[in-house]
């Protein structure tokens, strides 16, 4: 029972990111409000980050900070004891990229609002057509 549940949770983890990504993608395409689309975009990006972090995890692995062991050499460090650090590094970059895109997109949204006083896509399109 316990094994089944842990296994289920583990599988759940890999599928979760697909669900989250699809929520984000759906929001990006179907939502009408530009800020909502932005939130969708962020959820989409975070889902990918979750996927990468899941790649890095190891059963029974601890955080990737190597302990100082007196006189340590390569014999002292057993890589299976630590989780894979590479996806973490990549995802630090991805988080920073996502916040940068978010900042630029917010600036654009403010610029649009200053001119058209709305953030709804359909209203924006009608106002553009009118002008």
């Amino acid at each position: 029972m316990d094994f089944l549940l842990t296994h289920l949770v583990a599988k759940y983890n890999f599928w979760l990111y697909i669900i989250l990504m699809m929520i984000g993608l759906y929001a990006m395409i179907a939502k009408n409000n530009l800020i909502k689309k932005l939130v969708g975009m962020n959820i989409f990006q975070t889902a990918i980050i979750l996927f990468y972090v899941s790649i890095g995890s190891k059963r029974g692995g601890t955080i990737p900070i190597v302990e100082h062991i007196a006189g340590g050499g390569e014999h002292a460090i057993n890589p299976t004891r630590y989780v894979n650090p590479l996806p973490h590094v990549l995802m630090l970059t991805a988080i920073v990229v996502s916040v940068s895109t978010f900042g630029v997109a917010l600036a654009l949204a403010i610029k649009i609002y200053q001119r058209y006083k709305t953030l709804e896509e359909d209203e924006l399109l009608t106002r553009i057509r009118e002008s």
Partner: protein, 81 residues
Amino acid sequence: MIWQLDLAILTLVIVCAIAAISVKDLLGTAILFGAYSFMMCLLWSIMAAVDVAFTEASVGAGVSTVFFVAAVFRTTRRTKD
């Protein structure tokens, strides 16, 4: 890893994500999105990705939420969907 906790957080992440895109008030979206980021951060610290979790806590749940609130303050809270 405590699986009950893991499961609870995983569920909360999805709930927060759906709530963030469906609530009809952008300020609410901002806060829910912050909560979503924070849940994500917890999830990553469970997976032993401490650096990623730290970054997400400071960037995703912290500064982005502030930017978001500032942008909502400068535009509008109302949304049709």
